[in-house]
Each structure stands twice: as structure tokens, then as C-alpha cells.
């Protein structure tokens, strides 16, 4: 099972399974501890300069935007970041917080290429871009979530995405097939926004789950923001709906409309006006700065942010939402 090929990209966050086990043994309490706190406290306690951090989301859906803004507000810097990002990584790039990227996709979906990404990468402000597919980055977290050093896949093969990744190709010893081995991705910090959680961190999600299951289990520090904080009895009544058990979680933040300007399944619709405002603003550094001044630095916290957006507007987004029925 010799190495047939390997990507020339930097392994930005090399996996150390024994250290991860030791961390999970000594740093993650098995007790039901009240972890409910403000986003200020959560971010200042668990996000740090130079940490390897990821956000869980898809497109503009179920993004941990209130936490994303707080990370900027606290001027965390030299972040090493993975993903898949639309609104949230765009803000971090525009704010100049990102040093290295395990990149899968950063763009504006139908609105095209990200101006913030172009500026940050083409200027060299982002030192490294290591390439992966959406599947690959999720599978890398899945490997970490399984507690194994790598996972074999049949994607990435033969492409420059592989050549500029940190993956390897070997012959499978059972079938002889060439397979791509993806290294486990253990994050220093994960940020996940959910529909409901209890104060201990037990979290449940409605609809698709993206890669929340995998990222929660792959993160050494996990901050959960939730639209609703529910009594533990609610969780215990439907344990088969729990995606994230409490012992994985370090902080629980109550964040109604926490995905704004993105959407939240069954709860509220995307705020296209504010989203488009960002897209326009992000075309120039000055515009991006003005947007950050208005929506991030200009408000003390998520509560003030929601006041800025306005109750009337939020009510409309709720009315426009998709419902399970109909």
C-alpha cells in the first residue's frame, strides 16, 4: 500500500489522535453544566488568535452569523479557517482575520465570485489556500469524528484540487483500486447554529443537517448558538432528534435570528436586502469597511444588531418562511 501520489498543499492542521483523545478525556466534562452565556463571553473564552476554526452552514442557510460577527468585533486574528463559506467567511476575509485557508468554496452563489476572497488572496494577505472539495472537507471532519487518522474516498482523484491539497493516493490493499486518503481534520474551534438547544448544550436541528454532526464531533472547542433555549425535558423526550450531545459543547448562546441575513429552515427567510447590501458593499475595501462599521463594529452585540435590522423587517422574514406543511 505505497503512496502513489500526494498533494503539495500544506497540512494546515495535522491530526494528532492521541492528543485529541487526551483532550476529550481531560477538557470535556461529562457533567451537565450550565453553559449558557453571551456571545461576547463565548467568543472571548473559546476563540483565540491563530486558532483553527470552522463554521457549519450551507450557502446562506443556518450560518452562525451572530458568532461570526462577534469574532470580528473582538478582532480575533491570524485565523486558520476551513470551508465552505458564503456570508460568514466573506466577512472574516473582508475584516482581514484570515491567515490560512483549507478552502472548498468561498463565493456568493448565484451572485458569483467573492470580492473579499479575491482581494485577500490576490494581495497575499491570506498566506495559503489548500484546496478541497465540499465532500472532502466534510469527510475530513467525519474522520476526526470517528477518531481515526484518515478516511478513504473516490473523489479528488486525478485533479489539481488533489494536487494542491494535503491528501494522498494509495492502492487499496483489498481491491487494488487507487483511493484518495483524506487526513482527519480536528478543529480547535467549531461554530454551529441550531434550532434549539438546552443550557447544557444538547442540540437539535430541523431539516437537513449539513455537516453539523461531523463538525461537532471533530471540534476541540464547540460554541453552539441556538434560536431557542429549551428545557432539557424537551431534549430527553426526543433523544432520537439530538444531533449534538452536551458533552461536546463548551458554550451555548441564545441567538434568535442568529443566521441573519441568512435563513433558518421553517423559522425565517433570507434577508435579501441586507445580503445584497453586503454584496454591493464588498466590491470595494471602503464599502466592505462601511458595512462592517454599520453591522458589526457599530453594534455592541447581537441584540443591538437585531434592533438595527428592526422588528418589522424580522417579522416579514418570519412570515415569508417555508413551512413543513402546505
Amino acid at each position: 500500500m505505497e503512496i502513489l501520489a500526494q498533494g503539495k498543499g500544506e497540512l494546515i492542521q495535522p491530526p494528532d489522535l492521541e492528543a485529541f483523545r487526551e483532550w476529550n478525556r481531560t477538557q470535556k466534562s461529562r457533567k451537565l453544566i450550565d453553559k449558557l452565556m453571551t456571545e461576547q463571553e463565548a467568543v472571548s473564552r473559546f476563540v483565540y488568535d491563530g486558532c483553527y476554526i470552522g463554521t457549519e452552514l450551507y450557502g446562506t442557510v443556518r450560518c452562525p452569523m451572530s458568532l461570526t460577527r462577534e469574532v470580528i468585533r473582538q478582532h480575533k486574528k491570524d485565523l486558520r479557517v476551513c470551508g465552505q463559506g458564503v456570508a460568514e467567511l466573506d466577512l472574516w476575509l473582508a475584516a482581514g482575520l484570515v491567515k490560512k485557508l483549507d478552502i472548498t468554496y468561498i463565493g456568493l452563489e448565484v451572485y458569483g465570485t467573492s470580492y473579499a476572497l479575491r482581494r485577500a488572496v490576490e494581495s497575499g494577505q491570506v498566506e495559503t489556500c489548500v484546496e478541497w472539495s465540499n465532500g472532502a472537507i466534510s469527510w475530513r471532519m467525519k474522520a476526526a469524528a470517528m477518531g481515526v487518522p484518515f478516511i478513504p474516498v473516490r473523489s479528488m482523484l486525478g485533479s489539481d484540487t488533489f494536487n494542491y491539497s494535503a491528501a494522498k493516493v494509495v492502492n487499496d490493499p483489498f481491491t487494488g483500486l487507487p483511493v484518495c486518503l483524506l487526513p482527519a481534520l480536528i478543529l480547535d474551534v467549531g461554530l454551529i447554529h441550531v434550532h434549539r438547544a438546552d443550557r447544557f448544550g444538547n442540540a437539535q436541528i430541523e431539516g437537513i443537517t449539513g455537516f453539523a454532526f461531523e463538525m461537532a464531533r471533530a471540534s476541540k472547542r464547540l460554541i453552539i448558538s441556538a434560536e431557542e433555549i429549551v428545557p432539557t425535558e424537551e431534549i430527553r423526550k426526543y433523544p432520537d432528534r439530538t444531533i449534538i450531545p452536551y458533552y461536546l459543547v463548551d458554550a451555548v448562546v441564545h441567538a434568535p435570528f442568529g443566521s441573519h441575513p441568512g435563513e433558518m429552515a421553517y423559522l425565517y427567510e433570507r434577508d435579501d436586502a441586507v445580503y445584497r447590501e453586503w454584496i454591493e458593499a464588498s466590491k470595494t475595501p471602503a464599502g466592505a469597511q462601511a458595512y462592517l462599521d454599520k453591522y458589526v463594529y457599530g453594534v455592541k452585540n447581537h441584540h443591538e444588531y437585531l434592533e438595527l435590522i428592526g422588528a418589522e423587517r424580522l417579522k416579514q422574514l418570519v412570515e415569508q418562511r417555508e413551512r413543513r406543511e402546505t
Binding site: 468554496y105 448565484v110 466534510s138 437537513i208 421553517y266
Partner: protein, 255 residues
């Protein structure tokens, strides 16, 4: 046939929609593929099963999804799971079609959506693979949707983000990609292309109305195979246009 006027994107959507076979599964991304899938489901392919990367399979698309992963992508779906499940479903051979796009494509259908110029010092940093590499690796058949000009149809892409036939016949299998998978069509702003079964090189199938074979050749940066018979794509029918404008995208987000 209709004499109604229609936009380029309306035509591309119709040409793409006609490629779907009924009773197949397809990875659907945002934009033209979503509209094409909805149009196909409302016309010749009612049993098309839309699969959305982040977990929605078999949704009933009553309203046009505007973003990948939004609630409409799993509205009344048969399963709402996560990205690993859908990608692994493709890896097991359950996804028949995938749609792809990019800034560059070569004669083997390799796609670039990562960088223009050198990767480490790019002239332009593009979004990256996203699910593209997985879709191009794992689905049975992929269709590329492209703007058609010489800057995009190039002899060599600057970066192979998503594998087409790589260097040609047998190259996918040698790389370990699933046997029998690969690109089957390109729907561009000028024409419909497929791939020659002997050489796996791109071949012109039919031009859009008003577009000549020479127009296509003049806008293609590599040697496109031109068969003896080149067809002309049917313009959008009155029925197709009505569905697109009244039922699928009444707010005209895309058309």
C-alpha cells in the same frame, strides 16, 4: 416551435432540461440547473429525483429554491440528511446526473473554478471546487453549463478543479475514478456539445437558433469535433416559456 422571443438563459434552461431522463437522480446546484430540473419535472421527466448536496433528496419543488440548502430543497422531501450521506450516495453509484459550471473548460471536459493564472499567485482567485469535484468524480454523467467564448473554452485549463476525462481515454479509471463515469454534455450560450466515444474529446451536437457552426468554432479555443450532421436546438416552446415565466420563476430571479 414558437415565434415568441426568449432570452439566452431561457434557451439554455430548455436545452439543459431536455437532457434529463425521467426516473433518474440528479445533483442540482443553484441557478440554471434548478430551473432546468423544475422544467423537466413539469414536462417529460415527472419522476426526476432532485438531490441537493447538503442533504435534501426527492423534494417536491413547488417553488424555485434560491440557495443551496434552503428549506425548498427538502420541501416534502423523502429524506433530509446531510452532505456526507448525499456525497456517499453518489459514491455508491446512485446519482445519475450532475450539473457543473466553471470559468474554463477544455476539450476533455475538465473544469476550472479555482484560479486563473498560477495557483499560488493567481491573477484571479475563483470560489474553488465546492461540490464540483465530488459531482464530477462520483456522478455517472455530468453536464457542464458554460458561457461560450475563447477565454472559457481553452486548450488547457489553468487548474483542473473538477475532472472531466482528464488526459483522455482511460485516464479517469487510471486515476481511480469510478468506472464508466464522466462528462456527457456541455450546454453553452452558443450550442449543445457531447463527447466523441472514441477519443472522449468534445464534439458539437447542435447549435442554438441563429448560431452558425463557424460562430461556435470561432469562439472555441480548442479543436472541437464537428460531425457531418450538426443539428439546431429547438427554441423554447410556448409551453416551456409559460412554465418558466409563470410557474417556475415568476419573480424572474434567473430569467
Amino acid at each position: 416551435m414558437s415565434s415568441q422571443s426568449y432570452s439566452k438563459s431561457e434557451l439554455m434552461i430548455c436545452v439543459a432540461a431536455r437532457l434529463f431522463q425521467d426516473g433518474t437522480t440528479a445533483f442540482i446546484g443553484t441557478g440554471i440547473p434548478m430551473l432546468a430540473a423544475m422544467l423537466a419535472m413539469k414536462t417529460h421527466a415527472p419522476n426526476l429525483v432532485p438531490v441537493f448536496e447538503f442533504g435534501g433528496t426527492g423534494a417536491i419543488l413547488e417553488k424555485l429554491p434560491r440557495a443551496v440548502g434552503e428549506a425548498r430543497t427538502f420541501h416534502k422531501a423523502i429524506i433530509a440528511s446531510g452532505i456526507c450521506d448525499t456525497m456517499e450516495t453518489a459514491q455508491r453509484g446512485f446519482i445519475d446526473y450532475g450539473f457543473l459550471g466553471g470559468a474554463q473548460i477544455d476539450c476533455y471536459g475538465n473544469l476550472n473554478s479555482t484560479t486563473i493564472g498560477d495557483h499560488d499567485h493567481p491573477k484571479a482567485r475563483l470560489p474553488g471546487s465546492g461540490g464540483g469535484n465530488d459531482v464530477g468524480s462520483l456522478c455517472w454523467r455530468t453536464v457542464a453549463i458554460m458561457q461560450h467564448d475563447k477565454r472559457r473554452f481553452v486548450p488547457n485549463v489553468d487548474f483542473i478543479t473538477t475532472p472531466g476525462y482528464l488526459s483522455g481515454v482511460g485516464a479517469r479509471e487510471r486515476a481511480g475514478l469510478p468506472r464508466g463515469s464522466g462528462p456527457v454534455n456541455v450546454v453553452s450560450t452558443l450550442a449543445l456539445m457531447d463527447y466523441d466515444s472514441a477519443s472522449f474529446r468534445m464534439r458539437l451536437v447542435a447549435t442554438h437558433p441563429g448560431v452558425t457552426v463557424d460562430d461556435v468554432i470561432a469562439n472555441t479555443g480548442f479543436e472541437l469535433i464537428i460531425p457531418d450532421r450538426v443539428g439546431t436546438n429547438e427554441p423554447p416552446s410556448a409551453a416551456e416559456l409559460r412554465l418558466l415565466r409563470e410557474e417556475i420563476d415568476p419573480e424572474r430571479l434567473y430569467i
